[in-house]
Every structure is written in C-alpha cells, then in structure tokens.
Symmetry: C3
Subunit: 150 residues, 3 copies
C-alpha cells in the first residue's frame, strides 16, 4: 500500500467554465503505478478553489455550454431578467459579486473519488471528470490528485 | 492494508427510480473482511452510469416515490405543464430527450464513501444508500464497491 | 499504512444551522500522525445524521446566515409565503414536518474526503469544512473522521 500525490493547475473561465480533466486523473494514476506500484485502490481529485467544483458530466457542447449553468441559475442566479446583479448577503461581507458562485460550488462539492482497477480509473464511457469554475471572473485553480492503493 | 473490489449490477427504473443498496455495501465490506481481513477503513461505491447517482436517503415511500424527484424537477424538469418535453441544448447533440437527466446526475454525483469500523459500515439508522436512475428509460447499472483498509 | 478513527459530537441548530468544523478535521489528522504516523493520505468526514450534510463553504455571515438556505429553499421550501408548512409525501409516512430537510440533505450529501499532505489537510484558504443541520429542530450530530495513509 502506498500514497502518490500530484497537483495540476488550470486556467478556468468565469460563469461555469468547464474543463474536462479525465485524462489528468488517469495520468496521475498511471504515474502512481510507475512510481509506487499502485494498481488497485482509489484516486481522490480535490480542487482547492473556494468557488470551484468537481463532478462527472458527459462533456458535450450542450450540457457544458448551456444546460447545467441554466439549471443552477434557477436556484442561484447571478443577475435578474433586466441584467442587474442580484444582491446576496455575501456581497455585504466582501463588497464583491459572487454570492451565487458560492452557492453553486457548495452544491457541486470540490472533490470526487474514483475506484482504480488494474491501473485504470473505473469510470463509465459517458463520465467525464469535469472541473467547473463558478466564480464571476476567470481564475487559476489547482486540483490535487491523491492516489492510494496497492 | 488491502484493497477488495466487488461489482454488482442493478435493473433501474426511469425517472428517478431508486434502489436501496445499503445491504450490498455491507455485503461487500463483510466479504472484504473474509477475503482480505479488512476490519477498518473505507468503502467507496461508484456507479459507472452517466446519468445515475448515489446518495443517502431515508428510504420511505414518500421521499422515494415523489418528494425528491419533484424537488429536482424544479431546476431540471423533463416536461412542461402541458406535458411537452422541454428542450435542452443537450438534445441537439444526440437527438435524445435526457438533458434533464444529466443535470440531476451531475448534482447527485455518482459516488459515496463511508467509514468502516470493526467490520460495519458506519452509517446512521436513517441513512439508506440509494442508487438513483435519472435517465428517461429503464437501464442496467453497475456499482463498484471499492473497500480499502486493514 | 494505517487507519485512525475519531468521532466528535455537535449540537446543531435547526433550519440550516452551520458549524465550522475545519479545525476538527485538522485535529483528527494531527492525532493520526501522533498515534499512527500518518503523514500523507486522505481523511473522510461522515455525519451519521439522516438530515444533516457536510460541504465546503466560505464561513462568513452572509452565506452561513442567509444565502445558502435561501437558495436551497427554492427547490425544497419548508413553508409557503403565508407561513404555512408545505406538504411533502414524506410527512404522511411519519406525521412529521421535515420532508424539505430530507431533500436538502440528499443534495448536500453527508461526507467529504480531503487529501492529507505532510500532516496537513490540503484545503484552500476559503474552504471551511461545514456541518449543516437540515432538520426542523435542533439536533445532536456525530461526525466520524476516518484517516487513512502512511
């Protein structure tokens, strides 16, 4: 049994910009096999971004570009129908504008754990591991890949 | 320390059909104890279904049959009040009808990790580990149980 | 490789009362280092409360006191605009009033897994690990901290 850690950095786009990081999960697992001999276990991806999330998605243009954001805007909209930024109490604390971002991130959650079987991440064919930027401006985000197993 | 993997297959029902798989989590942990001597650690259940989810629920008829689906339909409805299927951009990619399913699955997430203490999954008395089918037709779904510990 | 388990108990406040338990995650990891020599690995926090959740939040008064609850009340409200408790089918099973609580908890999920690097939980500066009470009355909740690593 061993632990292998890798961190990667991503330039993310504001307002639900999404990046398919499936290959980076697999790359971390492949390197854990080379470096530590890990063939079976789990990998946890964790983004340290306070208003970013990690989930599984089918990474196709409709869901990535439009659908998921539109759905989440129903319970955490950024602006109203006239284009005015909606007030959240969070804005009073920091005089910023990303209260809606914090809500989205809290519901998406910043991590995902995947089984590793014989050196491969055991995901389905339509599951893309996706980093989601919930902030209202472009950001730089780290994802930590923590591989554990034997 | 050791790793023990088990996969089970379920026939799921469309539109938020739910299956209580608590006993299968415990069965995987019990077999991991027999096969590998694992008594303490964690078990991660992961469904490889692209539009399925795993969460904890009290598995009683109201929540399972009606309440959770109704709540999620507020931000990801399948049809409108007249019964017509709502258009998602996802449908343009594949000419299918399950854009709402993808949104539900992304928010539920496909995995859950539970502590194992002295050979038992350490859940509360009202927490049933529940597989949820978000697709618009019945499906067959795998859940991988990955047990790690000592 | 080793496993270290710790459980802490919290008095939670009804209707989305939140407690910042970041320091308790770190304390469990620090004790796992002392007791078992664990410096790198993961920690899973899991609440056994059926209608409680665990997530990451910036723990500031706006988000904690108002914003997240208001957003979640859009898809799982407790009462309507006149103050009357909304009926959920769950209430028919138990003759209680917390159907909305169950929905919130199912979407927040009861656990979070965090990488441990050199004895520290690898979270970002704005990520507070937060226990959220979704029930309609004050409760007492356990959180299990399961530390695994080497």
């Amino acid at each position: 049994m061993a632990v292998y850690t890798q961190t990667k950095t991503y330039n993310t786009k504001a307002f639900m910009g999404m990046i398919d990081i499936t290959q980076d999960f697999q790359a971390a697992v492949t390197e854990a096999a080379s470096a530590k001999g890990i063939r079976d276990g789990i990998v946890t991806g964790f983004t340290t971004g306070g208003v970013a999330g990690l989930t599984t998605l089918e990474f196709e243009p409709g869901m990535v570009g439009t659908d998921l954001k539109a759905a989440m805007d129903i319970f955490s909209p950024y602006h109203d129908e006239t284009g005015r930024v909606i007030h959240y109490r969070h804005h009073e604390t920091w005089h910023d504008d990303n209260g809606s971002s914090h809500i989205k991130a809290a519901l998406l959650s910043p991590f995902i754990t995947i089984p590793i079987i014989d050196g491969k991440i055991a995901i389905g064919p339509w599951q893309n591991l996706t980093l989601i930027e919930c902030d209202t401006r472009d950001r730089v985000r780290d994802v930590i890949f923590q591989v554990m197993g034997e």
